[in-house]
């Protein structure tokens, strides 16, 4: 009897379920939808749901969403990255310097002539992204080789990269960026959707598949869940850890390039809280700081909540500072409810399996039958 196999009926999960993992983001999605409904009903002339406003929210969220997607991988693997906002600044400086320096001489630029526009843009984009990826690789390498906790490593590289950006620019904004960069990628639209949002959506979509469907994603969960077990199973944990931090830096590099396109200069003074916003977005979306848990769908919802609050408060005539108060509260409450839910589902699932034999006294035929299908 004890050797009988009792199998719960396998759930034939839909495509959406496969993307979101074994449990959904029901609660936080409900919160987001509720916010959108409240703001739509209460905003003057229901402007909240207008196409223009929607576009504005998309553009505002794109950059934080890219960073939050990287943070999702890092946090699921049991790490954290505090340096991504500083890498954005550094990458934007490298990108701006390359674009300005290679596309024209200062005299030509002042006459708005850019004879080597394509070369400048190509070098700026590649250089900016590569600079971010290089910093990320350094984070991973130090974490793995010197066994310094990632919190400390990334706090250190935050200061290093921000300082380096200031040294390169002398603390000044970088002039001489061709307006064409801003007019296309920066503020341009396709079918009414900002190019920045399109770029972010494509990249986040790829990362979603990478996390939910590939070997790399599966091993990311394994490392965060039990890195020793992953190592013993033959996973090259150090190599993948470096790859994860490198991915985060790569994304920061992309955000830096997008920033140059958006604001037509390197933004030395901005992005000081991007790192915390990205971590908050992931945490609101259900990514655990302890590793092993989280989904890209949750992070996407978590990234939109601050932007929706910000935008909604402005439309309602509140001071926008209330957004920060509200996001802070949402962060704490979201993580609290997530823990409560996990505790209760954990005990509910566990209860029957200790008595699996007793719980299915006459269920063997049924369960065998359904398993065979």
């Amino acid at each position: 009897m004890s050797s009988e196999l009792a199998v719960a009926k396998p759930r034939h999960r839909k495509f959406a379920d496969m993307l979101t993992g074994s449990t959904g983001n029901g609660l936080i999605l409900t919160v987001l939808i509720a916010m959108i409904l409240v703001f739509t009903i209460t905003s003057p002339a229901h402007r909240f749901l207008s196409a223009g406003n929607f576009t504005s929210i998309l553009a505002d969220t794109s950059q934080i969403l890219l960073l939050a997607a990287g943070e999702t991988f890092i946090m699921i693997a049991g790490g954290i990255d505090l340096s991504c906002g500083a890498f954005v600044v550094f990458s934007s400086v490298i990108c701006a310097k390359l674009v300005a320096g290679l596309s024209a001489t200062p005299e030509q630029a002042s006459n708005l002539e850019f004879p080597h526009l394509a070369l400048g843009l190509a070098a700026g984009i590649v250089g900016g992204v590569a600079a971010g990826a290089a910093w990320g690789w350094l984070n991973g390498w130090i974490t793995v080789r010197w066994q310094v906790p990632p919190f400390i490593v990334t706090l250190g590289t935050l200061g290093m990269s921000l300082g380096a950006a200031q040294i390169i620019t002398g603390g000044l904004n970088v002039p001489g960026i061709p307006p064409a960069f801003q007019e296309t990628l920066g503020i341009g639209k396709i079918f009414g959707i900002p190019w920045i949002a399109v770029v972010a959506a494509i990249i986040v979509g790829i990362l979603w598949l990478l996390l939910a469907q590939t070997r790399f994603g599966m091993r990311t969960y394994a490392i965060g869940s039990n890195s020793e077990a992953a190592r013993r199973a033959g996973v090259n944990v150090p190599r993948q850890t470096i790859q994860l931090y490198c991915l985060m830096g790569f994304l920061a590099g992309i955000v830096g390039v997008l920033d140059v396109a958006r604001f037509n200069t390197a933004s030395i003074a901005a992005h000081t809280t991007d790192n915390l916003q990205a971590i908050a977005a992931a945490a609101i979306g259900g990514v655990s700081l302890y590793g092993g848990k989280g989904r890209m769908s949750g992070t996407i919802i978590g990234a939109f909540i601050p932007a929706v609050l910000h935008n909604g408060f402005i439309l309602l005539g509140f001071e926008p500072y209330w957004q920060e108060v509200a996001v802070g509260a949402v962060l704490i409450i979201a993580v609290y409810f997530d823990q409560v839910r996990r505790r209760s589902t954990g005990s509910r699932v566990q209860a029957p399996d200790d008595d699996a034999g007793a719980a299915t006294p006459n269920g063997n035929e049924v369960t065998h039958g359904s398993h065979a299908t």
Partner: protein, 262 residues
């Protein structure tokens, strides 16, 4: 082409010292195909050291290990895996965030066919199906294969760890107190699994235990260590609770009764 050795792994004259402690003083061990071998002894008898040498985590100071007649150097845990030696540790055995199939195939993931597989897309349904087949073959129960292991009981998690090792351990399966942290019922489940694994997969299984009734229940061969030496080696038929307890406590530890040293 080559003859089948019934003695899958033969270790002779294994010694190992740590600073001032002589943990192993010339130990012999023979693991037979399809048989469960219990390695018994008090704390500090040298069981764990011997297991670590067989799984590649430690190197012996002297002695020889033959696998199917061929001398081997188990230089690292990776070497051990290549030789077909798989180890289940007391803890740290599974990734709780992953489901049954993912755990069994972690590090050896099944990829989808075609282009998606080329990009590293995993075939979760196939891993779950084959994971369940393996659990079924070993006669153990798990809830739905798509649940993360964190929602399972300790015994089920350990069962998954044993099933994983049994699936990949081609020739030798090492279990370091597989039931140490488990309740009575779960222990029975895991031991049953160990028994089935030896029979079904025709593997040589060696497991460490303190629990004498447990040993008598599932072991074919028994080796008792005391202070780094083999003080008793016998088949189950010749063993009794009394004999094992006396051996473990060192009462047999006189030259006349001792085997295993030259």
């Amino acid at each position: 082409m080559t003859e089948q050795h019934d003695d899958v792994l033969v270790a002779t004259g294994i010694t190992k010292s740590f600073a001032h402690v002589r943990a192993l003083r010339g130990v012999d061990l023979t693991l037979r195909r399809g048989k469960v071998h219990a390695l018994v002894g008090d704390n500090g008898a040298g069981k764990s050291t011997l297991i670590k040498i067989l799984s590649g985590a430690l190197q012996p100071d002297s002695g020889e290990i033959l696998m199917e007649g061929e001398p081997v150097d188990i230089a690292s845990p990776e070497t051990a895996q290549h030789l077909g030696i798989e180890t289940v540790y007391q803890d740290l055995a599974v990734a709780e965030a992953l489901d049954l199939g993912e755990n069994i195939f972690l590090g050896r993931e099944l990829l989808r066919r075609g282009l998606l597989g080329h990009f590293g897309f995993v075939d979760r349904p196939a891993m779950r199906e084959r994971g369940m087949e393996q659990m079924q073959r070993l006669g153990t129960k798990v809830p739905s294969p798509s649940l993360p292991l964190e929602s399972m009981s300790g015994g089920q998690k350990q069962a998954v760890a044993v099933a994983r090792a049994a699936m990949w351990g081609g020739r030798v399966l090492i279990l370091d107190e597989p039931a140490a942290a488990l309740g009575v019922r779960q222990t029975a489940q895991v031991l049953n699994l160990v028994r089935r694994s030896a029979e079904e997969s025709n593997q040589a299984v060696v497991f460490i235990s303190h629990n004498v009734p447990q040993i008598l229940e599932i072991a074919d061969d028994i080796t008792v260590l005391h202070q780094g030496r083999v003080c008793l080696r016998c088949a189950k038929a010749d063993a009794s609770v009394d004999l094992l307890v006396r051996a473990m406590s060192g009462a047999l530890d006189s030259p006349a009764d001792r085997e295993g040293t030259e």
